[in-house]
Amino acid sequence: MRDTPLSNCERRFLLKAIEEKKRLDGRETYDYRNIKISFGTDYGCCIVELGKTRVLCQVSCELVPPKDSRPTEGIMFFNLELSPMASPAFEPNRQSELSVTLNRQLERCLRNSKCIDTESLCVISGEKVWQIRVDVHVLNHDGNLMDAASIAAISALSHFRRPDVTIQGRDVTVFSPEERDPIPLSIYHMPICVSFAFFLEGSYLLVDPCEREERVKDGLLMIAMNKHREICSIQSSGGIMLLKDQVLRCSKIASVKVSEITELINKALENDRKIRKEGGKFGFAESMPKQRITTLKRDKAPVEMTDVEETASDIVNTTETTTEPVPSPVLVGMGTAQVGEGIVNSWGLDEEEEEDDEPQTEDTKTDEVMVISDSEEEEVVILNEVQKSKKTSKQK
């Protein structure tokens, strides 16, 4: 499906509004939209809502042999998917430019910044290490996917718990979560991306552009930073010329925003930890707000009841009587009974097999073992305490 094209009047209006420092939803130039972080029931599953943009991140782990060049380090694997659910412009199974850009930026932000201690992921050097896999899915695209993806990824990594392992010589025992509590990953710092969109040849900038603002932008500057004011990565795209003081100003704004967002993430993690410890309900179902449209008062809807009794009695009178009652159970052996005899095999047996059946049944005495089933596939054997079991195999 194609996305709706942007009309000229929308473009002109948006640029005019930006010149007057007005945004479509009434935000200020440096304001972020409402950020909401919620965690699922599994460790490592996180949904981030940045206004209407929604991103889901899932972290999982696996024991694999390490890379030859780095035998003592674990492996981190990042993947970002743009699902067609997010926007009609995304086509399935097509590596669009946007998806490549987002993937590269996510990798640079999280891998090159060394925010996760990969040495602690090593189990047996050179043989087994943990591979941590971070999958980010975009559920709805309303602008600024990179920020939402980076927040989701770092929250999910902080939330994730990997299974506990013990090593005895060369044997590795992996404990399930019931046997031993899983351990969190060791995270040094939380790098978060902040996006700045530039308009009208770099003279105006906006933080956290929404989808329509993104369509009319000239260029984009993405700064990944942590709360200790360390810049993890900077990327400028769109080919606009940025002045030195513009970039410095952006990094100052980014540091303020990053500290706010980091606090939000930590609060969300703390809440989740508290609820899990107290044994309360956690997970996505609890974090969805109950939007109250279903509790509006309505007038009672009248239900057609006029001829319910007549139709019911009609049905009762006109139905046939039930089939013959079920036969009472037949006690076959100690602890085994049989109700009914089952239907005769209607698949067309050969004559030879039928002959085989008959001598069998004649031989059985009440004390001995009885084979009930005629089925070709399985042997049904009833063991008596006193007698030895006699297996007859009719496998063909």
């Binding site: 194609r2 709706t4 094209p5 942007l6 009309s7 000229n8 009047c9 929308e10 473009r11 002109r12 209006f13 005019k16 509004a17 007057e20 007005k22 479509l24 939803d25 009434g26 449209i293 809807a301 009248p302």
Partner: protein
């Protein structure tokens, strides 16, 4: 005479679901005459032999003398003949413009379907412009066609528009409420400040007010009054009007 009308009248104003059936049993009248009743089934109702079936969920409405339809809510537009919509021109292809109307296919708009257009005198339409037009052909088997003139050849308000102002999308139910002859929403909005408004049946609305700020206010008000009762809407508008002056 009223068997059919009586069947419908019971359910006017009630919520019906797809699959509900109105079946009519005609009693034998004494003198052997059969009275014919004419009923117009609007959107959401479909005749199936001797019965009328409901195919969309919504509330049954009635308009005198004999029109019934289901008032349902959706956001995706399906082109229908005779409806006026706002379209965005995407390409020029030969003698025809391709216009995006929000449906599954782009509609085609001929160069000559404008007032005063001839082969020599082409209309001034660029890619990305907004056009307000009516469907002449709109069914599921063919590509829809738009025109910007009425049957007499006059523009009658249609054509290219919107040099300034903002275009946004709302649900189809809100659009029908705005286009109703005595629309309360439009009347309430007028009291705040003057503005120009173009409403397309495909859910697209174009607004222009004196300043950018006022245009943004009208846009946000229209987007939020989708799910409000009239009382909530009036209190909200009063608050905005008070805060403005």
């Amino acid at each position: 005479m009223d068997t059919i009308h009586a069947c419908f009248k019971e359910k006017i104003g009630e919520v019906l679901l797809p699959g509900d059936v109105f079946s009519f049993s005609f009693p034998e009248s004494g003198d052997g005459t059969i009275k014919t009743e004419k009923i117009i089934c609007g959107p959401g109702l479909r005749r199936n032999g001797e019965e009328v079936k409901v195919c969309k969920s919504g509330i049954l409405r009635h308009k005198q003398p004999n029109m019934y339809w289901i008032d349902s809510q959706q956001r995706r537009y399906v082109p229908a003949k005779g409806e006026s919509v706002i379209g965005i021109v995407t390409t020029k292809a030969g003698d025809v413009f391709k216009v995006d109307v929000g449906g599954s296919e782009q509609a085609s708009l001929s160069y000559l379907a404008f007032e005063g257009a001839t082969k020599r005198n082409r209309p001034n339409v660029q890619v990305g412009d907004l056009v307000y037009g009516q469907f002449t052909i709109a069914n599921k088997d063919m590509e829809p066609e738009l025109v910007c003139i009425d049957s007499c050849g006059r523009a009658n308000g249609m054509g290219v528009f919107g040099a300034d102002g903002l275009l946004f999308k709302v649900s189809l139910g809100l659009v029908r409420r705005l286009l109703a002859p005595q629309s309360e929403i439009v009347k309430d909005l007028e009291k705040i400040f003057p503005f120009e408004l173009v409403v397309g049946m495909n859910g697209r609305v174009w607004v222009k007010a004196k300043t950018v700020q006022q245009t943004l206010i009208v846009t946000n008000l229209l987007e939020t009054c989708e799910n409000m009762t009239s009382q909530q809407r009036q209190t909200l508008f009063k608050k905005v009007a008070a805060g403005f002056f």
